[in-house]
């Protein structure tokens, strides 16, 4: 035992934990190490729990097992070159990340994407929101013991990935956005596939709901579990569905409308309870709202170009590069040295499936960002486990962890 404690103290590297651990002469408390390779931590998160019987006395989340230094990498490449790296942060919603990053870059350059591109971005953003929430719903239901939902959710998600394949050419790591627009126009085939999906999806979601909403095991494992009050949620900086499940109606799509969200009609689901069940209902309602948004966007989709005509910031069309001198020069300069943004700093945040994803860019006037900081929602949301870990039952930990919906690729950057 003594050896084990020494090992744990050493691995944590925290000076004051030693006294804390050794203060228990009767040995009623034990240390439980969960992860980093554990199915319930959904990624490489390590949780060190101090237990008193079934109750958690203290919880220490440890991060960094997936740290790839994205911010350092960003400083050494042009703005466009960093785009594929954003796919690999929140890998459950790569299209949202692409858009979030490009909006920040566009804000820095002071350009705006054409209307059609903005609508396409919104459609794909909302589809990736649905797909991300589906993964969450499936895994969360599995965490608390319902396996069928997992299969059904992944079946639906597969359909969305097929849509991405048609629209962007890639199923998963899409890299679809460009500075000032999107990579290519959406085809009729793509629009048809999206229409078919949103017509069928509400029915399929209802089936999942039928399995869970009146399921006694599911309700008992989520109702009143993992409570976060309004004040606590604000204090620890939760964002996204977790915050709205605690009764704070903060959604950047409404508060700071970006893209064309102010032209669309949708509601923000807010629940006051702040437990795992509320977080489940918020995400369920959000998926339904997303379907509504996608339907409106397809109806309103204007015609026109999908990329801004800004030769100093965006890459020109390939056919023009091959035939025109001016465009060839721009293409060469932009590919090799990046654009020439003004000196300054911008922060742009969007409402990602997980919460507020923001990019803070400090520019020194060259084509490379001087500093790029990713404000990732998962990172802040995991803090909840530290702050609110105390006093809960050990077997609820898995459900609580699942209900927060984090992706370690994003939290560790």
């Amino acid at each position: 035992m003594e050896e084990k404690i020494d090992k744990i103290v050493e691995s944590l590297g925290r000076r004051n934990i030693e006294a804390e651990i050794r203060q228990d002469p009767l040995g009623t408390e034990m240390i439980l190490n969960v992860g980093p390779q554990h199915p319930a931590t959904h990624g490489v998160l390590r949780l060190v729990l101090k237990l008193d019987g079934e109750y958690i006395v203290d919880a220490v989340p440890e991060l960094g097992y997936l740290h790839r230094g994205k911010e350092k990498i960003a400083e050494n490449m042009t703005f466009l070159e960093f785009l594929p790296h954003t796919d690999r942060m929140d890998y459950l919603a790569p299209l949202s990340n692409n858009t979030a990053y490009m909006l920040a870059v566009e804000k820095l350059f002071g350009i705006e994407a054409p209307k059609r591109a903005q609508y396409i971005r919104v459609i794909l953003n909302e589809l990736s929101r649905i797909s991300s929430h589906l993964v969450w719903l499936g895994t969360f239901a599995m965490d608390v013991g319902a396996l069928t939902v997992f299969m059904w959710c992944f079946r639906e998600r597969e359909k969305i990935l097929s849509i991405f394949d048609i629209v962007t050419g890639v199923r998963f790591t899409t890299s679809y956005a460009r500075i000032g627009g999107v990579a290519q126009d959406i085809t009729d085939e793509g629009i048809h596939a999206i229409k078919e999906f949103i017509d069928n999806f509400p029915k399929e979601l209802e089936q999942c709901e039928k399995l869970l909403n009146k399921n006694r095991i599911f309700i008992e494992r989520t109702d009143g579990i993992g409570m976060i009050t309004k004040e606590q949620a604000i204090d620890i900086g939760l964002s996204g569905p977790n915050l709205r499940a605690s009764g704070v109606p903060r959604d950047l799509r409404k508060d700071e409308p970006y893209l064309v969200y102010n032209e669309l009609d949708f509601d923000i689901p807010v629940y006051e309870e702040g437990d795992c069940l509320a977080r489940y209902y918020v995400r369920l309602d959000e998926m339904k709202e997303s379907v509504k948004i996608v339907r409106q966007c397809i109806e309103k989709l204007p015609s026109g170009p999908v990329k801004a005509d800004e030769p100093k910031a965006t890459l020109p069309k390939k056919e023009k590069v091959y035939t025109k001198m001016e465009e060839l020069i721009h293409d060469f300069i932009l590919t090799n040295f990046g654009g020439t943004p003004p000196v300054g700093e911008v922060y742009h945040a969007v409402e990602n499936p997980k919460g507020e994803l923001g990019f803070y860019i400090v520019s020194d006037g060259t084509g490379y960002p001087w500093r790029l900081k990713v404000r990732s929602p998962s990172f802040t949301n995991i803090q909840e486990l530290k702050v609110r870990g105390k006093g809960n039952r050990r077997d609820d930990m898995v459900g609580r962890r699942g209900s927060i919906d984090t992706v370690m690729g994003e939290a560790d950057k």
Binding site: G13, L63, G64, G110, Y360, K373, Q383
Partner: protein
């Protein structure tokens, strides 16, 4: 809203506001680092401004002689739906900034990240240790003088020590 913030801060902290700037509609206020906790506390507790939500804290390395580093605080007011950026400059000779964990709990991990990446210490932080990098890592990766490819040998690879002992 912008005028109100500047006016209120000027009334109370006239000496401590270094610079007010605006770029792309975003307000940035540079504050003296000794006063950052007071300014934050005021911004949070003032009924009218109510910056009760801390979005982010991050560091910036400007790589220059004076005031090499900066710590950037990104605040949001739930009531007014307004964003504000506070900034303090930190000189390389004195890498200590007062911690704002007493104002927002959310600052805890953000400050740990800034410490991990830039080596800026936050006085009064309850648990200041590295968050991403190993505890025995000696360097601060996001500083501009840290090379992109890393420093060879700074992190022992798994199994490296074992091989050494086998060879005797």
């Amino acid at each position: 809203m912008k005028d109100k913030i500047i006016e209120k801060l000027n009334n109370l902290f006239k000496e401590d506001i270094v610079e007010v700037s605006e770029f792309r509609g975003e307000l940035t206020i540079v504050v003296k680092k000794e006063k950052i906790v007071d300014v934050c506390k005021f911004l949070k507790e003032d009924q009218e401004l109510a910056f009760d939500y801390l979005v982010d804290i991050c560091g910036v390395d400007y790589f220059r002689e004076k005031d090499r580093f900066a710590v950037v605080y990104n605040l949001w007011s739930l009531k007014n739906k307004f964003r504000l950026r506070l900034k303090v400059f930190v000189d390389e000779s004195d890498l200590v900034v007062p911690s704002v964990t007493s104002v927002w709990s959310a600052a805890n991990w953000h400050e740990r990240e800034t410490f991990d990446m830039f080596g800026i210490k936050f006085s009064g932080h309850p648990d200041l240790r590295r968050i991403y990098m190993p505890e025995d890592f000696e360097y601060y990766p996001l500083r501009k003088d840290f090379p992109l490819q890393g420093i060879p040998g700074s992190i022992p690879l798994p199994g490296q020590e074992k091989i050494k002992t086998q060879r005797g």
